[in-house]
Structures are given as C-alpha cells and as structure tokens.
C-alpha cells in the first residue's frame, strides 16, 4: 500500500493532538513566569559567600586564602586580603577579605571554587534571574552583595548543609572543651616550672 506509512504518521500526530488535552505526559510545557519548576537541591548557578550569625561582614567564613581565585578556570574571582585579623568559629585568628569580587558575567557556574574551599566559605546559589541593564558594574558582585546567611544555605542544599553544620558544631564544642581545659589547667604547668 503506497500511502500506509504516511497515514500511520498522521494517526500518530492525531493521537498526540487529542492526547495533549487529557494526558499529562503529552503536554509538558511549564508556563514559566506563572508556573515554576520545583527547586532541585543539587542545582547550581552562581556562588555566594556564607556567613554565620546575623551580622554579615563579621560572620563571613571566608579567610581570603585565595585558593578559589587560583583554581577558578575562567579567573573571575578577585580577592584582596585585609591585614586586620578576626577570630573565626573556633576562636583561631583568621585573615578576612577586604575585597572579594566575583564577575558573574565571566563565571561559568562550574562549582570548582566550592570543592576546593577548605573553610566551606563559598557555596553555589540557585537564583537564575540575574539579568541587569548595566553590562559591567552590575555584573560585578562585591562582598556585601555575595554574602548570604547560613540558614539560606541550609534551605537550599539541605543534606550538604546539615553535614557541614554538624561537623562545625562538634569542632566548636571540641575547641571550647580544649579552651576550657586549657583555662582550667594553667596552674599545674606553672608549678613544675616549664616541664615540657
């Protein structure tokens, strides 16, 4: 039969046409501004800086070690160290960044900075509405625009965030225990006179 293949094809499109009115699988368009896809936990767009507590600049976890600046493939992170040190969550004095810029027009959201950061200071955000009118200034996010609280990070990546928080809490507890032990035992070493 000459036309059989064509007719089979027509029936297929007809089935799809009729199906699109009742079968959910046959109409998969999500009307973007009104309906939005459910957020995916592992999704990543551009990085942001995590800070503990409520005050942004004081609570920044970043210690300006510049590992992420070296490792970033498109070189879009720019850090200047600030000589003034501040104590971090364990009480150790750490450097903090005076300038921490990310040029999000260059950043390709690969997430390598997150993997190489030893202080869990930089994490991947999930906001994708980043368009601005200005080509240069607005796409250069500085420290204050990048900083976001830790519970925002917990809301975004639940599993990863909870593991990090657990690890940081028991490190803090160990540090406090060590500090308390050190505070409680200054007298005995003084007595034997520097017996190392």
């Amino acid at each position: 039969m000459n036309g059989a293949g064509i007719i089979k094809g027509m029936i297929e499109t007809a089935r799809n046409f009729v199906g699109s009115y009742h079968d959910k699988a046959r109409l998969t368009t999500v009307q973007y501004p009104e309906e939005k896809l459910p957020p995916v936990e592992n999704a990543r767009t551009i990085p942001f800086l995590v800070f503990d507590g409520d005050e942004a600049m004081a609570g920044l976890r970043c210690t300006a070690c510049q590992i992420c600046e070296k490792e970033c493939p498109p070189q879009c992170i720019y850090i200047i160290k600030d000589p003034v040190k501040k104590p971090d969550y364990v009480g150790k004095m750490q450097i903090q960044p005076k300038v921490f810029d990310i040029d999000i027009s260059v950043c390709m959201s690969c997430g390598i900075c997150v993997e190489v950061c030893p202080f869990d200071a930089i994490k991947m955000d999930q906001v994708f509405e980043l368009s601005t009118k200005d080509r240069f200034g607005a796409l250069l996010l500085d420290k204050t625009q990048l900083a976001k609280p830790n519970d925002y990070f917990v809301k975004l990546h639940k599993t990863e965030a909870s593991e990090i928080d657990v690890r940081r809490d028991d490190e803090k507890r160990k540090a406090e225990a060590a500090a308390a032990a050190k505070a409680a035992a200054p007298k005995p070493p003084a007595a034997p006179g520097g017996a190392k």
């Binding site: 070189q75 040029d103 200034g137």
Partner: protein, 211 residues
C-alpha cells in the same frame, strides 16, 4: 599486536633504509612510540597499512607538538683537577635540547582490532626547515588534522592534497599554538582585572580603569 621492538624490526626489514627508533613513554599508560625519519615515512606508512597481519588501516589521531629550545641543568660527573688531585666532581652544566616541531600519529587497526601504534615525525628545526611528508595520501583521515597542524603550528606537509588554514581566517599570519606565540593586544575592558589582565589594563588606561 606484538611488542614495539619486533614491530620496529619488521619495519626496518620491510622498508630498506628506514631508521625507526623507539621513544619511551614515562607515564603508567606505557604507550611508547616509534620515531620515523622523514625520507621513508610514507613508504613505512603504506607498509603498515597494507601488511596482511598488521593492517593499520585507521589513523585515529594526528597531533602537532611544539618542542621549543630548553636548557637543562644536568649534574654530570667530570674528572677535574681539584687542588692538584684527580677527583670525581659533580658539576652543573647547561645542555640545550634540540628544538623541533613534531607530528604524532596514533594508528589503530579496524580489521585486526588491535591498539595504538604511535608514530612521531620530527622537523629539523622550528624556524625555516619545517616540512614533513604528509600521510594524507595513505590515510584520508589525516587531511583535516594535518591542515589544523599547519594552521596552528606551521608544519608544512608536502604532498597534502589541499593545504590551507582550517580554523583561522586565511589572512592570519602567525601560528597560535606555538609556545612562543604572543597574543595580539586586543584588550577589552574587564571589570575584575588582576595579574596579567591588570597589567594590560594599566597600559591601555593609564588614568585608571574607566567606571
């Protein structure tokens, strides 16, 4: 596929006058290669393709590599009179390695399904004598890859059917993949200039980068 040594012997037996030497490969992937002299390269290639039990009928990959001149500091034992006494002494001397451009061919056999045989063809030097015999008449798959090496490295393949630039535009003169290639200074303003971009930014905007 038998070991590279037997293969070298077979090649030298089959093609009189061909000098092939084995280039060792340090990485755990242990893929040593066979360096051929330019004169007999094409006859050796035809032999490798047509030999009944070798049958390397598929040139998978052709790569250009640039080995510029390097000075290596080597500690070599040298007998020297040191305060009148003959003594072995460690001495550091510079040795300049020969500079050349290289084309590396990875050959496979689709008929026999055996693994990579790696051929290396080296030019005399990096400046004027940069011609190599083209293997496109033997394997048609080298056509575009040799054109790319000509375009990015500057090795001239004589005997190639249609040697033109493949990736860069015809009027481009330099060869960008060479180690001593200097990028043109087409500087565009970048909001986060740091290290080399910063230096170029200062050259272009002595008064400080524009807002």
């Amino acid at each position: 596929m038998e070991a590279l040594e037997q293969l070298k012997a077979r090649v030298e037996a089959a093609v009189p006058g061909a000098q092939a030497e084995i280039v060792p490969n340090g990485s755990p992937a242990n893929q040593p290669s066979l360096s051929l002299d330019c004169g007999h390269a094409r006859t050796v290639a035809e032999f490798l393709r047509d030999d009944p039990d070798l049958r390397f009928d598929y040139a998978s990959n052709v790569t250009g590599v640039d080995w510029p001149e390097k000075t290596i500091k080597e500690k070599i034992k040298v007998k020297k009179l040191v305060s009148g006494v003959e003594k072995e002494v460690e001495e550091v001397c510079e040795r300049k390695t020969p500079a050349y451009l290289e084309a590396v061919y990875h050959l496979y056999s689709m008929a026999r399904k055996h693994g990579p045989l790696i051929l290396r063809l080296r030019t005399e030097n990096r400046s004027d004598k940069v011609t190599l015999p083209s293997l496109t008449p033997v394997w048609r798959s080298c056509e575009f890859q040799e054109r790319e090496i000509f375009d990015l490295y500057g090795i001239i393949f004589e005997g190639h059917t249609d040697l033109r630039r493949i990736l860069m535009w015809p009027e481009f003169t330099d060869h960008p993949m060479r180690k001593d290639y200097v990028e043109p200074d087409d500087y565009e303003y970048e909001p986060t200039p740091h290290d080399d971009v910063l230096t170029r930014a200062r050259q272009h905007y002595p008064g400080g980068t524009p807002a």
